[in-house]
């Protein structure tokens, strides 16, 4: 028996005229992308290295990367992003499986609880957390009323409050992409692996995890880039004590009137997000 021959690729090198026509179709969207995304980026980069007195300068970058205070700021952003992403992932991964396994009304209710908060603004949700966590807030009031504690516990303006709030607010962006992949996962893969001798743990690490990686990468990319650059969440839940790149940028533009420095901080923030997202995508490649 001969092997079934795979069909040759049907896409042939298009004649120049066809290519030109194809370019005509994509040109408008290329233009829009250039205007909306590339142009602002170019401006940001430009402003960050231009000296108002003329010429080019790296002074803003030197200040950011050379001052212990600003290195601390960068670390704060990174920490916020990494911790939020990690905790959100640990919660979301099992949650996505539970969601995919749920049937009927339960599934609709669970999905709604994930989707509905997306309709509310970040500011509203962050404020909701301050109401819960304040010294005279809901949690403390209840705990005191029930008699579990006598004096209010300090919860607001702590790093715990920051991370808890950030995880809560960005959680849907982790659950949904993972859920989308898990819901499509064919149970036969796990069964096939089991019959081949893989214990449940091995099935998980060698089959389930690699097959759900695309969802994990999407979730990590979304949640990390959202949380590393979050502005409202740290501002409302922890404030001055925890300066991040995002709050530093805001200060540079709004208070200090240092657009060059703000732009440089913006570029650093963007670079961090891109590097971490690219790294997570690379690490997730199945090692050969």
């Amino acid at each position: 028996m001969t092997d079934a021959v795979l069909p040759a690729p049907i896409v042939k090198a298009a004649p120049d005229r066809e290519r030109l026509a194809a370019f005509g179709f994509v040109a408008p969207s290329v233009l829009i992308i250039a205007l909306v995304f590339v142009l602002p980026l170019a401006l940001l980069l430009g402003v960050s290295v231009l000296d108002p007195k003329g010429g080019v300068t790296v002074a803003h970058y030197a200040r950011l990367l050379g001052t212990p205070y600003y290195l601390g700021v960068i670390w704060n952003s990174l920490r916020l992003g990494l911790l939020t992403t990690l905790i959100a992932f640990l919660i979301s991964y099992p949650a996505a499986f539970a969601l995919a396994r749920a049937r009927g009304a339960l599934r609709s209710i669970l999905l709604a609880t994930l989707f509905l908060p997306l309709a509310a603004s970040v500011i509203v949700k962050a404020f909701a957390w301050t109401i819960l966590l304040r010294s005279d807030g809901l949690i403390n009031t209840v705990l005191i009323a029930v008699g579990i504690i006598e004096d209010p516990i300090r919860m607001i303006f702590t790093q715990t409050a920051l991370i808890v709030g950030a995880v809560n607010i960005f959680l849907p962006f982790m659950v949904l992409p993972i859920y989308a992949v898990v819901a499509q996962l064919d149970g036969r893969y796990a069964e096939a692996a089991a019959t081949l001798g893989a214990s449940p743990l091995v099935v998980f690490f060698r089959v389930i995890l690699p097959l759900t990686l695309p969802g994990i990468i999407a979730g990590v990319a979304l949640v990390f880039s959202l949380s590393v650059s979050a502005y409202v969440v740290p501002t409302l839940l922890i404030g001055e004590k925890y300066p991040t790149l995002a709050t530093t940028i805001a200060k540079a533009y709004l208070l200090a009137r240092e657009p060059g420095f703000g732009a440089a901080a913006g570029v650093v923030l963007l670079a961090i997000a891109i590097i971490v997202v690219a790294l997570s995508a690379m690490l997730s490649r199945e090692p050969k």
């Binding site: 069964e191 692996a193 081949l196 001798g197």
Partner: protein
């Protein structure tokens, strides 16, 4: 082939809610034997296969494999190979990665894995495709990778659930022959699930005909065809002429039956008065009035030429019909509307209890 029982299924039952899907199934398979589970959709074939694999433990009964009671052993400690209808090849691994999977998770040394993968892939004639992605394979190639993956671990029994049904007809027929040759080559014990009777007859040493969660008959293909044990088995495998009638007498394993086409003799043991179906295979019918044979007459309704054979359908009156298979060389084939008489041997005529329906 040794006669030692290799897979012993005794009294296996399975219920889903109120429905009994497997009803005290008994099945014993010898080492190196290829057995087909043949039956209509929903009769429990997949469920039985999953019980053997450990993917769906039975509610009752026991399963012993290679001398070990595996009834409550989880699938990863059973050493069974399964080829799924959808193949379930791991899309994140290459062809070789899929075939190596079973050995890798068993912690086999790398050199041994490489050797086994190479051997399994060359057995299925895919030696050159080891580094391919699964998505870059044709359906027939995927089928063979699934087979290579299952045999690479040298399982005690190989289970195929409609493994060929996703292939087109020509490829499927080629694979049936090749698969049988290959399974004999590696001396595999295998169970093949199908609802395609031709596949069952081609592939297997023995066929188990399943109906409503029970095995109706377990026999070699020839015997199954020539000596069906029940009306269901008769209907499910091959064509037949069936005429309803009433037993009026009989002796020595032969009954006399009054039917709309006349008095017929058939093998079977029934009390006078019993309602039975008298049946025979189409190739037993011959034109004419054979001596001491059953015979019936009627008007030809249709003649279907099929190359080496011709099927003749005869209206024998009173709702009865005769189906005859004549060889293409038969001098004078009847034509539509001809009045004809057929005869067939009593020894090839069976009586079955008419199903109360």
């Amino acid at each position: 082939m040794s006669a030692a029982p290799h897979l012993v299924i005794s009294g296996v039952s399975k219920r889903f809610g109120a429905a009994t899907v497997l009803d005290r199934v008994d099945l014993t398979i010898r080492r190196g034997e290829l057995v087909t589970l043949l039956g209509p959709s929903g009769c429990g074939k997949t469920t039985l296969l999953r019980a053997i694999a450990g993917l769906a433990p039975p509610d009752g009964g026991t399963i012993a494999l290679a001398g070990r009671d595996v009834t409550h052993v989880p699938p990863h400690r059973r050493n069974v190979g399964v080829v799924f209808q959808s193949y379930a090849l791991f899309p994140h691994l290459t062809v070789a990665g899929n075939v190596a999977f079973g050995l890798k998770v068993r912690g086999a040394p790398k050199a041994e894995i490489d050797r086994a993968v190479e051997r399994a892939l060359s057995l299925v004639k895919l030696g050159h495709l080891g580094s391919r992605r699964i998505s870059a394979l044709s359906g027939g190639q995927q089928q063979r990778v699934a087979l290579a993956r299952a045999i690479a671990v040298e399982p005690d029994v190989l289970l195929f659930d409609e493994a060929l049904s996703a292939l087109d007809r020509k490829l499927r027929e080629e694979m049936q022959v090749e698969l049988r040759r290959l399974l004999q080559e590696v001396k595999a014990t295998a169970i093949f699930v199908t609802h395609d009777q031709d596949e069952a007859l081609t592939m297997s040493d023995r066929v188990a005909v399943m109906n409503k969660g029970r095995i109706e008959q377990l026999a070699e293909p020839r015997e199954l065809y020539a000596r069906p044990a029940s009306l269901f088995a008769l209907n499910f495998v091959g064509l037949s002429t069936r005429i309803a009638g009433q037993v009026v007498g009989g002796s020595n394993g032969t009954v006399e039956v009054v039917t709309p086409v006349g008095r017929l003799s058939a093998r079977g043991a029934f009390q006078p008065g019993a309602s039975v179906i008298v049946a025979t295979r189409p190739e037993q019918l011959r034109l004419g009035t054979g001596d001491g044979a059953n015979s019936a007459a009627g008007r030809v309704r249709s003649v279907v030429f099929q190359g080496s054979r011709t099927l003749v359908d005869v209206d024998a009156g009173a709702g009865a019909s005769l189906l005859a298979e004549l060889s293409g060389r038969e001098a004078e084939l009847p034509r539509v509307h001809d009045e004809v008489r057929f005869a067939w041997p009593v020894a090839e005529t069976f009586a079955f209890a008419a199903e109360a329906s």
